[in-house]
Subunit: 333 residues, 2 copies
DNA sequence: CTGAAAGCGCTTACAG
DNA sequence: CTGAAAGCGCTTACAG
């Protein structure tokens, strides 16, 4: 144990023969204070390794210096590396500005965990990492009047949101498949309730429209969650002579690949495969998998930076649309 | 916006014509208080949806009602579903007792993020999710004198620790391979610096010892991190006529499987494969992969429960060793 | 059983 | 430029 008497601002004031006010000002840099006095205090602080009690500071300012990070709790999702990588970027940015991250796993149909951290005054702002078309969390946060930003788009323009351009990304990927002369392209994705999936679907349809072709509705599968569903879908697609399968996340893609492997269907020989967001889930696959890449850590950083600006009352750009990169690889060669 | 005037204990006292002390007692249940008075206060609180300011409460008690969750920041690790599942269990348990979880991603060689949350008084206790043989975090937390528990074992008996029995698990798995008459079994694992990997190695050696055979040192590979290393290792193992490969995590296993696939080596026909902790990384693999399963969410729950007991000053059992299950599947048939 | 008062460790008008 | 004092919203001896 180190000497445990937890130095306070009062101790320092007494020791130095100044007032607590003065010490406080020296630390915060706010308010007029003499150069010499400031230096004296700062030196003392450094020497004695004084750490202000952030809780007390927070109480006085009605702040917590915490931000809430909400991640979706549904099983399939929680294991996607996406959220961990977001968290990495957020954590890094937050800690640079002396904020900490309170994590809250919330179920799609129950936002009580989110409610708790805001009504208990545990956070100064919130980052939502996935948006629903009908989003109870968004509605709640708006009503509560607490600063928040969403990772992922919302229909609501009043909401500060940061997203990658999933629509363009999916359009471009689809276009490049169409350009190869493939026209029986299937799309498999998760819950339609998520904005991101909706955008990707939009991009897929955009590409078909631009090419003057009609996408076949029977080749679009949404709300797919489980491996078994994928198996059945791939089976029926093969019967229809599908040429290419685009999946909306790497989990679905690995299900597709497994099914194809089991049936000894060659990729890309007989069927081409492409996916979104290449994570470690597919990193070592053979053949390598064509996919759309996003800088998820940067996404987290941007979201966090924006939220902190809002909390500090600075101006922020309300919407940001980040880029993407398409990596064409063996699976669509 | 809802009516925003954030009810305080003072408002309630005034409204009800009692003292703040009384209101406080009614809420906390501590201290003598008349039945009627208590009910009156409680009713008012319920009706007006009063939420105590946890920060203020914390300041008065020098508590934060936060626990710190430390997860390792190295790239390869952070994507393992293990930590997310831990987090799920911890978050669930914490929120039941009105605690929240502050997350801190710390790099193996830099514990400053951990230091920050404890010196800033942001947490009442800490959970470490992976232990090193030489663990700077453990050393620091001991010195700081803050309650903490580790998920994963430590050599240090004074540390409260919760773990699955990795040693027995690995021994048993290895034994069952040996019992099949396989004796050229390879072991591939991550950093030796982690206690968990050390334990697994121990179990592997135990099994050989019990069987009276000698494990071949050239078949044990530790400190393996990247996919390319795995490729090289598998290549050399094949030349030596290896019969079975056991990997210490699902990431390494998927690398092994990819390499084998690429070389068109049949599993389990020519080489058998088994792994630890079956996560979604391997969930849909064909053939299905033999592996050791742990209830990671329970691990998180137990760790959290224990930490909260320590914080509340209750008695706890200092060490807990949780079980495991071995699922023999197609890959070792 | 109940309350006045001091205190947790800061910040911030206000006055000088 | 500096300080005394009130305040953030709670808790908790102490006294009655």
């Amino acid at each position: 144990m180190t000497d445990d008497k937890n130095l306070t601002i009062g101790d320092i004031a007494e020791e130095l023969g100044v007032s607590k006010t003065t010490v406080s000002r020296a630390i915060s840099g706010k308010g007029r204070i003499g150069e010499k006095t400031r230096e004296k205090v700062l030196r003392y602080i450094k020497e004695h390794d004084y750490r202000p009690n952030v809780i007390a500071k927070g109480l006085a300012q009605s702040r917590t210096y915490n931000i809430g990070l909400v991640i979706p709790g549904s099983y399939h999702l929680v294991e996607l590396p996406f959220f961990q990588n977001c968290m990495l970027g957020i954590g890094k940015t937050a800690s640079m500005l002396d904020y900490d991250v309170l994590i809250s796993v919330v179920m799609p149909d129950d936002i009580s965990r989110l409610r708790r951290i805001v009504t208990n005054h545990k956070v100064d702002g919130v980052i939502l990492t996935r948006t629903l078309l009908e989003d109870a969390s968004v509605a709640y946060l708006k009503e509560a009047g607490i600063p928040f930003v969403t990772i992922g788009s919302t229909g609501d323009d009043a909401v500060v949101q940061i997203d990658n351009d999933h629509r363009s990304a999916c359009r471009e990927l689809t276009e490049s498949m169409l350009a190869q002369g493939l026209d029986r392209i299937a799309l498999i994705g998760g819950s339609q309730g998520y904005v991101v999936n909706d955008n990707r679907l939009g991009g897929f349809l955009d590409a078909y429209e631009k090419s003057g072709q009609q996408p076949v509705r029977e080749q679009i599968f949404l709300d797919v969650e489980k491996g078994e569903e994928v198996e059945a879908i791939v089976g029926s697609l093969l019967q229809k002579g599908i040429e290419c399968i685009i999946t909306m996340d790497d989990y679905l893609c690995s299900c597709v690949l497994n099914t194809l492997r089991q049936r000894r269907i060659e990729v890309p020989g007989r069927v081409k495969v492409a996916s979104f967001y290449d994570s470690s889930l597919l990193a070592n696959n053979i053949p390598s998998i064509t996919s759309i890449q996003f800088d998820v850590e940067e996404l987290g950083e941007r979201a966090c930076k924006t939220l902190l600006q809002m909390i500090e009352g600075e101006m922020t750009e309300p919407h940001a649309l980040l880029g993407y990169r398409i990596s064409l690889r063996e699976s669509t060669a």
